[in-house]
């Protein structure tokens, strides 16, 4: 089996004329959207309890009591769905030397001058940042969230610890919402990205432009792919 450094096992050339490259299989995409839907539900219900001007958002969930009840359960769902994404993706999100160059030339990134940037594997430093920020913040949020889960864990920690937990929970929530905005914005701004999470594939041109090392490795693997 060919050496894999920049691609995942399932990534393969889907068609040659025109070139499309499979990036995420069906299960990963469904799981991604479960995570996304959970995160959106969590941010709406969480913001409703975070600021009085947004309390009206509890109406989306059937009122204040229902929002209070639902939010932590959705949090647990998100934790486990993200855990699967983490197990699938962590290896390709480890930092590499070219990430440093990519970050130092962030101006070229924003201008879209990618020919001036090093060739990249499946993820660029920005995507890796989103991945690790989500990982750390979700961990912090689930731990502090359980500490303030009155319904089942009201006596788990002392009140002073609970005060810190609720403060850290809200600061982390703000941070994860900012990360979420960055993630969505980058996916829209870099045209041709969204289809990786809808249809599962990207065009060859997209792969050539943004993730050339990934494309080289996937194309270098002969027809049969993992079955060879």
């Amino acid at each position: 089996m060919a050496r894999r450094m920049f691609s995942a096992a399932g990534d393969h050339i889907e068609s040659r004329q025109p070139v499309t490259v499979s990036r995420y299989r069906g299960f990963t995409r469904v799981n991604h959207w479960v995570t996304a839907a959970s995160l959106i539900a969590l941010l709406l219900s969480g913001l409703a309890l975070f600021h009085p001007s947004l309390y009206f958002l509890t109406g989306l969930f059937g009122g204040g009591q229902a929002t209070r009840w639902l939010h932590p359960f959705v949090g647990v769902l998100l934790f486990f769905s993200f855990l699967l994404l983490f197990l699938q993706m962590w290896r390709l999100n480890l930092p590499r030397p070219e990430d440093r160059t990519w970050v130092s030339q962030i101006g070229d990134v924003v201008r879209g001058d990618e020919e001036k940037l090093p060739e990249l594997g499946k993820y660029n430093a920005g995507q890796k940042f989103v991945f690790w920020a989500m990982t750390v913040l979700i961990l912090v949020l689930i731990v502090t969230g359980v500490m303030i889960w009155e319904q089942f864990f009201g006596n788990l920690v002392s009140i002073q610890v609970r005060r810190w937990a609720v403060l850290i929970h809200s600061v982390s929530a703000v941070a994860i919402i900012l990360t979420f905005i960055l993630h969505v914005y980058a996916a829209f701004w870099t045209r041709g990205t969204l289809r990786a999470m809808t249809r599962g594939s990207v065009t060859g041109g997209w792969a050539w432009r943004h993730h050339r090392k990934w494309l080289r490795e996937v194309a270098g693997r002969r027809e049969g792919g993992p079955a060879e």
Partner: protein, 331 residues
């Protein structure tokens, strides 16, 4: 003594209820604070501040106050196991809004054994931490007479009031998921009667009236205690929470912790202040700026598009006619 129906709040708890019909006089126009309601209209009048004074030195530990509280509020605290102490239940619960706490103290100065009994319950802080922490509009209110009350139809059961309270008072029910605590019998005060506990107290260790009268009365009690050798007798009316509408006369006011851990200098935790202050305001602002900014940036700047040239290069690569690597690239 009877209650004058023309007074805005009762002056004592010992009088019998008025015989003439009385309109409830604690209404929406009497609110000075309401949780998660920044634009609360100012109150239409100012009620006379009221207070309950608990003179610990007069308490005989009979628990009449606890019984009266459960009876008036129609709660049925669970009968717990006797573990060899007098506290029953063992802590405040959603069904027990007030609790006699018993501590045994051997006074090192006198060598005397002292039984310090304190009636625990909501202090009705002038600056209530529960109200500050509460996210549900109108679930916790403060009337202009000083009473802090939970409005259960607006409560969502999140437990933030537990986090906010400096005295560990609110309890969340496991059955209806609502927060409970002493109401200072706001429903009795509204119709000219004092709180049930004060009414039931056989030694007048619990007295009720205007805050001014209660402070004056407390002063005479402190003076009396000092004349009996309690040099450190004093009033416990914590200024860190802006003063309270339930306050104590203690024989050892220099050591409030002796009385089952009454806090030394209670105030709303700075962690809670930080959460409900800068975090709330700056957090929402940051999210708003990021959301609006990214939409504007997306509309006003050029997106990163894949070119036809990129597609051609990819086709050549996949066909095996590999274009050269960029010189700086390590493989």
């Amino acid at each position: 003594m009877t209650t004058d129906p023309n007074l805005d709040s009762p002056r004592t708890a010992v009088s019998n209820p008025p015989v003439q019909p009385t309109r409830a006089n604690l209404g929406p126009g009497d609110l000075i604070r309401s949780s998660a309601t920044p634009d609360l209209p100012p109150p239409t009048r100012q009620l006379t501040p009221v207070a309950k004074l608990i003179d610990v030195s007069k308490c005989i530990g009979c628990k009449a106050c606890q019984s009266a509280c459960a009876e008036w509020n129609d709660t049925y605290p669970e009968v717990e196991e006797n573990v060899g102490i007098y506290e029953n239940p063992h802590d405040l619960t959603p069904d027990m809004f007030t609790l006699m706490r018993f501590s045994e103290y051997e006074n090192p100065q006198t060598g005397d054994f002292e039984w310090l009994i304190r009636k625990d319950g909501c202090m009705h802080c002038a600056d209530p931490g529960c109200l500050k922490a509460c996210p549900a509009p109108g679930a916790i209110v403060q009337y202009s007479n000083g009473i802090v009350d939970f409005i259960h139809e607006n409560c969502i059961g999140c437990g933030y009031c537990v986090t906010g309270c400096p005295f560990d008072i609110p309890r969340i029910s496991k059955t209806d998921h609502l927060a409970y605590k002493c109401t200072l019998c706001s429903d009795r005060v509204a119709v000219g009667q004092g709180p049930a506990c004060a009414k039931a107290c056989p030694t007048q260790a619990i007295v009720f009236g205007t805050k001014e009268d209660m402070l004056a009365h407390a002063e005479t009690r402190v003076e009396d205690l000092k004349s009996r050798g309690y040099d450190n007798a004093g009033i416990y009316d914590p200024q860190g929470v802006g003063g309270a509408h339930v306050f104590y006369v203690l024989h050892h006011a220099d050591q409030p912790a002796l009385y089952s851990g009454l806090p030394e200098e209670p105030r709303i935790s700075s962690v809670v202040e930080g959460w409900k202050g800068p975090t709330k305001a700056l957090g929402l602002a940051a999210i708003g700026v990021a959301a609006v900014g990214s939409v504007l940036h997306g509309l006003m700047t050029r997106a990163n598009k894949v070119s036809a040239e990129d597609e051609t290069q990819a086709e050549q690569l996949v066909e095996g006619r590999e274009p050269p690597l960029r010189p700086e690239t390590e493989v």
